[in-house]
């Protein structure tokens, strides 16, 4: 167990803050451009980047124990399992050929 605490410099916080603001602007801008099928992935990618910045620096995950990362990883994995399982049903509906199969 690490007992000493990592003090993050406010410069880092401000840097992360500026990046988050910039990414917010970017995602609004990107939504106005027709990227074809890529609009949604780009929006999600930007959101994930922002979330990672918040988690790593504002929430100190970068400086926390591995267990905290494990909790985050488990949550994301389970969220994916939930969505993947449900989506698997909707995407494969009707493959057999009659309605409701």
């Amino acid at each position: 167990m690490s007992s000493s605490e990592h003090i993050v410099s406010p410069v880092v916080y401000v840097g992360v803050f500026l990046a988050l603001m910039a990414l917010t602007g970017l995602t609004v801008f990107a939504s106005t451009v027709d990227l074809g099928m890529w609009n949604t992935p780009v929006a999600l990618l930007i959101a994930v980047t922002k979330a990672v910045l918040v988690v790593l620096f504002f929430m100190h995950l970068k400086y926390s124990s591995r267990l905290a990362s494990l909790a985050v990883g488990a949550a994301l994995l389970w969220l994916l399992l939930l969505i993947a399982g449900v989506v698997a049903d909707y995407l494969s509906r009707g493959w057999v050929g009659s309605p409701g199969t």
Binding site: G94, V96, G97, S98, P99, G100, T101
Partner: protein, 340 residues
């Protein structure tokens, strides 16, 4: 009342024997492993019972070989069961070609069935022996489930969409029809019967119940009453797509997607017309949700179907069902079952 104690339900469909075979296999596996565990457990418990208060048996750590064996062998067995069950399930999901068609609406707390010839029944369904019967089902309110134990057949009937199921009866008789999905107060009263008849008797029954208006004809009347005909013209000049020959065929949508115009697509296009607009047409059609009930929708579907399309429709109706696909009343006496 039950003097004898039945253990197995009657087998009255082509699936029943196949399901029972898997059931028998699973019972064999279960009895084997159940006995194996029970006998081993009890005999160890007796053989190695504690003989003195301070007895300390020799410790045994475990055995990799045993762990592998009793993981791998059950895994092999369950994979056999999995494949067997999956094979059966796909056979149940794939409707055989040229079935006789029946439309079913579940409504608290009754089953309403309609034949292509226009015959309607409540809490009853009459079918001939030896002909595959395809059920297209929906619900007007909550989820129901169409369950005929003698056919080993069950399918949930969900509001807002179509469910498909099929069976081929093999034995004349009258069998239970249950609602198997809890649907409220009189759930246990939502029961009825499926009567399987010899072909000749079925023909006679059909003739007796004929209303003079086939399902498709009723649909055609609805089609005119609702003024669908003003846009969906047969000369391809209407604001909507021409419907002749569409059914069962792939349709290209405005979005570029391709979908098959099956029962579910036709129904959706009536209640939610802008969901999947055909390429080259404007999303101008209003919804008919609420204007037509589920039975009416099924009549419209039957009508669109009768306008022809892929091979699944025309010959199917003609072959399997003695009722005519289109308007005119049926000439009842016709030898049945030239399905193959």
């Amino acid at each position: 009342m039950g003097a004898e104690l039945p253990l197995f339900p009657v087998q009255a469909s082509t699936m029943a024997g196949r399901v029972d075979a898997l059931y028998a296999f699973l019972i064999t596996v279960s009895v084997f492993f159940g006995l194996l565990i029970a006998v081993t457990l009890v005999s160890f418990a007796i053989r190695y019972r504690r003989r003195s208060r301070d007895e300390r048996p020799q410790p045994i750590e475990g055995s990799v070989a045993l762990e592998v064996a009793w993981s791998a062998i059950p895994l092999g067995i369950v994979m056999v069961i999995f494949l067997w069950g999956a094979d059966l399930f796909f056979a149940m999901a794939r409707v055989p070609p040229a079935p006789m068609e029946v439309y079913v609406v579940g409504k608290r707390w009754m089953w309403k069935t309609q034949h292509l010839g226009g015959q309607r029944e409540i809490n009853e369904l009459h079918v001939p022996v030896g002909v595959p019967v395809k059920l297209t089902m929906t619900s007007e309110d909550v989820i129901h489930s169409f369950f005929v134990p003698a056919f080993r057949m069950k399918k949930d009937v969900v509001p807002g969409r179509y469910a498909t199921a099929w069976f081929q009866a093999t034995r004349a008789g009258t069998y239970h029809l249950f609602c198997a999905e809890y649907c409220g107060t009189k759930h246990s009263g939502m029961i009825g019967s499926v009567t399987v008849m010899e072909p000749a008797a079925f023909q006679a029954w059909l003739a007796g119940g004929a209303t003079g208006t086939s399902l498709a004809a009723a649909g055609e009347k609805l089609f005119q009453d609702l003024a669908c005909i003003t846009c969906h013209r047969s000369d391809s000049e209407g604001r909507g797509p021409r419907l002749e020959g569409v059914f069962g065929q792939p349709v290209t949508l405005a979005s570029g997607e391709r979908v098959v115009a099956d029962e579910a697509y036709v129904r959706e296009s009536i209640v939610n017309p802008t969901a999947k607009v055909v390429a080259g047409f404007q999303p101008v059609m209003p919804t008919y949700q609420g204007l037509v009930n589920e039975e009416g929708l099924m009549q419209l579907v039957a009508y669109v179907k009768s306008l022809g399309g892929a091979a699944t429709v025309g010959p199917g109706a003609a072959l399997a069902s003695p009722a005519p696909a289109a308007a005119s009343p049926a000439p009842p006496p016709r030898p049945k079952g030239q399905g193959r």
